[in-house]
C-alpha cells in the first residue's frame, strides 16, 4: 500500500474577492522508503503541496490519504499523534525551540509522548554521533551554527523513527558545505532506515539525491524525472 496518496488536490487562497488557485488538481502517490524531490520556480506551489501532503494545511478540494486514511477526517489529537510518531518535518529556518538545549529539542517529541526508553537514548547517541553534533547537545540553538542547528533539527525529525520526513528547503539557509553534509545525512537515513523523504528544493544538485523528482509549474506537475 502506498504511504501517501493525493487525489485531485486543489488549493485556493481567497484574497479580497480574488481567488488564487495555487494547486490545480494534483494526483500523486508516495511509496514507503521513497525519496522524492519537489522542484520548480518560485510561486509554482511547491511549499503549498508539501503542506497539503503533510496535513499542515487542508485542500480546497480533493484529498490526501495516509496509509489509506483521509487526513481531512483526522481530528486535532490524531494529527498531533501522527506528527509525533509517523511523520516529521525539517524547515528552512530550523524551528528549534530557543529556550531548550539541542538535546532537549531532539527528545521533545518523545517527552510529549512520555516514552523515552533506554533504547531511545542509545539510538539518540548513535544519531548524534552520526550527525556529528554530540558535542553541542547541551548548548542552546543560538549558541551553535546554522549548519549544526539544521542537523539537530534533522536528527529531531529522525529520532521518532517516522515513516516519512517532509523537508521544506532544508539547505536554503546553509552554506554549500553544510548543505551537502545535510543531504548526505538525509540520503543515509533514507537508505538505512527506509524512511520516505519528500523534499522541496530549488537546488538541482540536491534534487539529484532523490529517486524521483517532481517539477511543478503553475500548480500542476509539469514533469517527473526518475533517477
Amino acid at each position: 500500500m502506498p504511504l501517501i496518496v493525493a487525489k485531485g488536490l486543489v488549493k485556493e487562497f481567497n484574497n479580497k474577492k480574488v481567488k488564487n488557485r495555487v494547486i490545480k488538481g494534483i494526483n500523486l502517490s508516495i511509496e514507503q522508503g521513497e525519496f522524492i524531490a519537489i522542484t520548480g520556480e518560485s510561486g509554482s506551489g511547491k511549499s503549498t503541496l508539501l503542506y497539503l501532503l503533510s496535513g499542515l494545511d487542508k485542500p480546497t478540494s480533493g484529498g490526501v490519504f495516509y496509509m489509506g486514511k483521509n487526513l481531512a477526517l483526522f481530528n486535532d489529537r490524531e494529527m498531533a499523534e501522527l506528527r509525533r510518531n509517523e511523520i516529521s518535518f525539517i524547515y528552512q529556518f530550523y524551528n528549534l525551540i530557543p529556550n531548550l538545549t539541542i538535546y532537549e529539542n531532539i527528545i521533545l517529541p518523545k517527552r510529549i509522548e512520555k516514552r523515552l526508553s533506554l533504547e531511545d537514548k542509545r539510538y539518540l547517541k548513535e544519531l548524534l554521533d552520526f550527525a556529528k553534533i554530540g558535542h553541542i547537545a547541551d548548548l542552546r540553538p543560538n549558541e551553535v551554527s546554522g549548519g549544526e542547528q539544521q542537523r539537530a533539527a534533522f536528527i529531531r525529525s529522525v529520532f521518532t523513527r517516522p515513516k516519512i520526513i517532509f523537508a521544506d528547503e532544508p539547505t536554503g539557509n546553509l552554506d554549500s558545505a553544510s548543505g551537502e553534509r545535510l543531504i548526505d545525512l538525509i540520503k543515509d537515513i533514507n537508505s538505512t532506515y527506509k524512511t520516505a523523504i519528500v523534499m522541496v528544493t530549488h537546488s538541482k544538485e540536491n534534487a539529484k539525491a532523490a529517486q524521483r523528482e517532481l517539477v511543478l509549474k503553475d500548480g500542476v506537475i509539469y514533469d517527473e524525472k526518475r533517477q
Binding site: 503542506y51 499542515l56 494545511d57 487542508k58 486535532d76 489529537r77 498531533a80 499523534e81 501522527l82 506528527r83 509525533r84 510518531n85 516529521s88 518535518f89 524547515y91 524551528n95 528549534l96 525551540i97 529556550n99 531548550l100 532537549e104 521533545l108 517529541p109 517527552r111 510529549i112 509522548e113 529531531r156 521518532t160
Partner: protein
C-alpha cells in the same frame, strides 16, 4: 518537560515577567482595598459614636416636643419590668465652671454611682475608699482631671442657670466613651444633688434620660414599641442606645465614590493583564507552531502555558498578599483607627486574593484556549505578522454597545443597574471601536498623503497591532484616572458636606420653640448674625409600598437661607414662594431621580407618631444631610404634627464664640437647652474626616500610579516590535529625523484620538456614574469633571508621546543594518 518549558518561558523576558507579577500583585491590593474601604470608613465613624451607656440597649431621652421636662421610672415602667433586666435614670444638664479664670462647659449627669457602674464598665485610677459616700461627690475622667487640673478631694463650683453648687472629686476614672461629649466635660454627680436644679427636684428620682436593658429573650424593637405607647413619655425620643445606622450611611456615602472607582480600576487592570497576556500569546504563536510541528497536541500546549500562567499568579498573588498585609498592619493604622482583630479584613483578604487568582488565571488561559484551533501553517503566517486585522462582527458589537449605552443613562430616573450596564457597554464598546475609527480616518488621510514620512505614519496608525493596543490602553487609563480623580474630589465634597450641613458658629439644640421668643432673645445678643431656626428630625416617608428615609426640616420662609440650594432647578425666591403657601413640601431632587417621585405626588410622612399625607410642590437640589431632605413650612408642620416651630437655632457671631456661648446660656437659662460651639461639636468629626480624606487621596494616587504603570509597560512591550521597524527604515536609507517624524506623528495621533474619545464619551460616563451612585440614594448630577478629563487627556497624551519617542533614543546609536541582518 512541561515544567521545564514553563519555567524557561517564565524566566525568558525578565522585564515582562516582573511587569506581569507586579500588575497581578497590584490588582490584588486594589481589590482588597475596594473590599475594605467602606468598612474602614464605617469603623472610623463607629469608633467615634458617643456611647453613654455601653451595657444598655434602649435610651429614652428628652426632646423639645416632650410634654414634660422631667420624667420618672415608676410607675410608668412597672408593667414592663418582666421584660426588663435593668433601668437607670439620669438627669443630664449643662452648666459651666470657672477655674483659674478659664471657663469650662460642663455636662453634669446625675445618677447613682452604683447605676453608673451598671451601665458602663468603668475602671478607676484613683478613689477614696475610706471616705463615706456623700451627695456632693462627683466622678470625673482622667482627661477632665488633667485639663481642669483636678485631683481627688478637690472641689469644683458648677453653675447651672442662676444656681451654683460645689462638688468634690471622689473618683477619677480611666477615659471612656461615656465621658466623651463634644465641647464639654462630662461629670457624673449624685442624682438627688443634681436634681436640685429642677423645680420640685432635690430628692432624686426625676430624670430626663432613662437607659434600659431588656432581658435577653426580649426583642429591643418590641419593647421600644411598647414604651412608645406610655403617655407620660410622649415626645421623648425612644431609640437604640448605639444606633449606628445614620453613621454607617454617612460612611457608606463617603466611601462609595472611591469604592466604585477602585472596582473600575480593578477591571482596568484585568483588561491590562488580558492585553499583555494576549500580546504575549501572539508572540508565542511561533513557539506553539513549533511545538505542534513536533507532535504536541492542544493539551500539552495548554499545560505548558497554563503552568507558566500559574507561576505568574502564585508569585503575583503572594506578593499582593504580602503588600496587603503590610498595608493593613503598617500603613493604614497610620491614618485610620482600624480594628485589626476584625475577621472581616482577613476574610476580605482571602476572598480578594482567591477571586483575583481565579479571574486572572481565566484571563491567562483564555487566549491559550483560543489558540487551540490555530493550524500550524496559519500560526506561522500570523506569528510573522504584526498587522492588526479587524473583525466586522466585533465592530458591529462595539458600535451597538456604545449606541445602547446612551439611552440607558439619559432617562429621567436613576437606576444603578442601568448605570452599571451602560458603563460596561460604553467602556467595552469604545475600547473595541477606537482602532476601527482610527483605521477609517487614516485610510482616507493616507490617500491624500504625498510625503513618505506621513504616509508610513498613517499606514502604521491604521494597521499596527501595537498601536491598536496602545490606543485601547491609553483611552482606558484616561477614563479610569478621570473617574478616580473625580471620585477623590467628590469624596472631599461629601466629607466637607458632613461638616457644612449646618453652616454656623454656634448651635443651640433642644429649644422648645413654640413662638419666636427664643429667636428674638438670640437676635438681641451682641454680635450675633445669620440666625436661623429650624426643626430637624430624621424620619421615614412612603408612597404606595415604597418607603424612604428622610431628614425633615421644618422651617419658616424667613429662615430658608439656612438651606443650601444649588439653584439649578428653581431659584431661592421661587422656592420661598411655594413654601409660603403652606400647602405642601419641598423635596430634594434625589427623590425624583432615584424613586421617581413627581410634583403633585402625596407622600405619607411620619413625625411625632402622627402620619400625614403631604403633597410635593417643588424640587430643589442640595447635598445637605446626604441629599436626603424634605422641607416643610414650620407652621404647617406645627399644624399637622403638633410639633414646636423649631428645636434648633444656629447662628454666627462677630464676637468671640465661647464668650457668646456663655452669654446665650445665661440668656436662655433652661437646663435642657444645649448651647455648643460648632467647632467643638464637629472637632471630633474634623479629625476623622481629615484622616479619611488623606487616605482617599493616598488611595487614588496609588491607583493612578497603577494606570500609569500599565500604560508604560505596554509601551515598553510594543517598543520591542517597533525596534525592528526602525532598523528596516534605516536599511532603506531613512535618516533619524524622518524616523523621529514618523514616530512623532504616530504617537501624537494616538494621544489625540484617545483624548478626543475620552472627551466625547465623558458625558455618558458621567451620567452612568450618576446612575451607579444612586445605589446609595445619592444624586450627583455631574460626578465626573470635564476639566479633569481634559487635563488628564493632555497629561497622559504628552506623557505617552514623550515616553514613546524616548524609545527611539535607545536604538539610534546601534548599527542598524548589522542588527537587522542578525535579527
Amino acid at each position: 518537560m512541561i515544567f521545564k518549558q514553563a519555567t524557561r518561558n517564565f524566566s525568558q523576558n525578565k522585564v515582562t515577567t516582573a511587569a506581569i507579577i507586579f500588575t497581578v500583585a497590584l490588582c490584588c491590593v486594589m481589590l482588597f482595598l475596594s473590599f475594605i474601604y467602606s468598612q474602614i470608613i464605617q469603623e472610623e465613624f463607629r469608633q467615634n459614636i458617643p456611647v453613654e451607656a455601653e451595657n444598655a440597649v434602649i435610651r429614652i431621652e428628652y426632646t423639645p416636643q416632650s410634654r414634660t421636662r422631667i420624667i420618672t421610672i415608676s410607675p410608668h415602667l412597672d408593667p414592663y419590668m418582666d421584660d426588663i433586666e435593668f433601668t437607670v435614670g439620669a438627669l443630664d444638664i449643662y452648666g459651666v465652671t470657672k477655674i483659674r479664670k478659664n471657663t469650662f462647659y460642663i455636662n453634669l449627669i446625675g445618677l447613682s454611682f452604683e447605676n453608673l457602674n451598671k451601665i458602663n464598665n468603668l475602671e478607676y485610677i484613683e478613689e477614696e475608699k475610706e471616705k463615706r459616700p456623700a451627695k456632693d461627690d462627683i466622678i470625673i475622667s482622667q482627661k477632665t482631671a488633667e485639663e481642669l487640673g483636678l485631683s481627688l478631694g478637690n472641689s469644683i463650683l458648677i453653675r447651672v442657670g442662676q444656681k451654683e453648687k460645689r462638688f468634690y472629686v471622689a473618683k477619677i476614672a480611666h477615659d471612656h466613651p461615656c465621658f466623651e461629649r463634644a465641647g464639654v466635660h462630662v461629670i457624673y454627680g449624685v442624682e438627688s444633688f443634681v436634681s436640685d436644679y429642677f423645680p420640685g427636684g432635690g430628692y432624686g428620682n426625676f430624670y430626663n434620660k432613662i437607659y434600659i436593658k431588656p432581658k435577653d429573650h426580649i426583642s429591643p424593637q418590641a419593647l421600644m414599641d411598647k414604651l412608645s405607647r406610655i403617655s407620660a413619655y410622649k415626645g421623648y425620643d425612644i431609640r437604640l442606645e448605639t444606633d449606628v445606622r445614620s453613621y454607617d450611611q454617612t460612611a457608606r456615602d463617603i466611601a462609595l465614590p472611591l469604592t466604585i472607582a477602585s472596582v473600575g480600576c480593578v477591571v482596568m487592570v484585568l483588561i491590562l493583564i488580558f492585553l499583555i497576556v494576549n500580546s504575549r500569546i501572539k508572540k508565542q504563536m511561533e513557539l506553539i507552531s513549533k511545538l505542534k510541528s513536533v507532535g504536541a497536541d492542544n493539551g500539552y500546549i495548554f499545560k505548558v502555558f497554563a503552568l507558566e500562567g500559574l507561576f505568574y499568579i502564585v508569585l503575583g498573588v503572594l506578593l499582593g498578599v504580602a503588600a496587603n498585609l503590610y498595608l493593613f498592619y503598617k500603613i493604614l493604622p497610620l491614618y485610620m483607627n482600624i480594628n485589626l482583630g476584625n475577621d472581616f479584613y482577613i476574610k476580605s483578604l482571602i476572598l480578594s486574593s482567591l477571586s483575583n487568582a481565579v479571574v486572572i488565571f481565566l484571563l491567562f488561559i483564555y487566549p491559550i484556549w483560543k489558540s487551540k484551533n490555530v493550524s500550524v501553517r496559519k500560526t506561522y503566517v500570523s506569528s510573522k505578522n504584526t498587522l492588526w486585522k479587524g473583525n466586522k462582527l466585533l465592530l458591529i458589537f462595539g458600535t451597538l454597545a456604545v449606541g445602547a449605552s446612551v439611552p440607558l443613562v439619559v432617562l429621567q430616573r436613576l437606576n444603578p443597574v442601568r448605570g452599571l450596564i451602560a458603563f460596561i457597554l460604553l467602556f467595552i464598546g469604545t475600547v473595541i471601536i477606537i482602532p476601527y475609527v482610527v483605521q477609517g480616518v487614516f485610510y482616507l488621510l493616507e490617500r491624500f498623503s504625498k510625503k513618505s514620512v506621513s504616509f508610513i505614519a498613517f499606514r502604521n496608525l491604521r494597521q499596527e497591532k501595537a498601536i491598536t493596543n496602545n490606543l485601547r490602553i491609553l483611552f482606558s487609563a484616561i477614563i479610569v484616572c478621570s473617574i478616580l480623580i473625580s471620585a477623590a474630589s467628590l469624596t472631599s465634597s461629601l466629607l466637607f458636606q458632613v461638616i457644612s450641613d449646618v453652616d454656623c458658629d454656634i448651635i443651640i439644640e433642644n429649644v422648645k420653640g413654640e413662638t419666636a421668643y427664643q429667636k428674638n432673645k438670640v437676635l438681641e445678643t451682641d454680635g450675633v448674625y445669620d440666625v436661623y431656626c429650624y426643626y430637624y428630625e430624621k424620619s421615614t416617608m412612603s408612597i404606595g409600598k415604597q418607603q424612604m428615609d428622610v431628614n425633615i426640616i421644618g422651617i419658616s420662609p424667613d429662615d430658608f437661607d439656612f438651606m443650601q440650594n444649588t439653584g439649578d432647578l428653581m431659584s431661592r425666591e421661587e422656592l420661598i414662594k411655594v413654601l409660603n403657601k403652606k400647602d405642601g413640601m419641598l423635596l430634594d431632587f434625589m427623590y425624583h431621580k432615584v424613586y421617581g417621585i413627581e410634583i403633585g405626588d402625596k407622600l405619607s410622612v411620619e413625625m411625632n407618631g402622627i402620619l400625614q399625607d403631604i403633597e410635593v410642590k417643588a424640587f430643589y437640589n442640595s447635598y445637605q444631610y446626604g441629599g436626603r431632605t424634605l422641607v416643610i413650612h414650620s407652621e404647617l408642620m406645627n399644624d399637622l404634627f403638633n410639633l414646636p416651630l423649631y428645636d434648633t437655632i444656629v447662628l454666627k457671631t462677630h464676637n468671640n464664640v465661647d464668650e457668646t456661648v456663655m452669654v446665650l446660656r445665661a440668656e436662655l437659662g433652661d437646663q435642657n437647652v444645649i448651647v455648643i460651639n460648632k467647632n467643638a461639636l464637629f472637632g471630633v468629626y474634623v479629625d476623622i474626616l481629615e484622616d479619611t480624606l488623606t487616605f482617599a487621596y493616598l488611595f487614588s494616587f496609588f491607583i493612578m500610579a497603577v494606570c500609569l504603570f500599565g500604560v508604560f509597560t505596554n509601551i515598553v512591550n510594543s517598543r520591542e516590535e517597533r525596534k525592528m521597524a526602525y532598523y528596516q527604515l534605516y536599511s532603506l536609507g531613512m535618516d533619524k529625523w524622518r524616523i523621529m517624524g514618523i514616530e512623532l506623528i504616530e504617537n501624537l495621533f494616538v494621544a489625540v484620538f484617545c483624548g478626543i474619545f475620552a472627551l466625547l464619551t465623558h458625558f455618558i460616563f458621567s451620567l452612568s456614574i450618576s446612575n451607579i451612585l444612586a445605589v446609595s440614594r445619592i444624586y450627583i448630577p455631574t460626578p465626573m469633571s470635564f476639566l479633569y478629563s481634559l487635563y488628564l487627556s493632555l497629561f497622559f497624551g504628552a506623557g505617552y508621546v514623550l515616553f514613546a519617542l524616548s524609545g527611539y533614543f535607545s536604538v539610534k546609536s546601534k548599527k542598524a543594518i548589522l542588527i537587522l541582518k542578525y535579527n
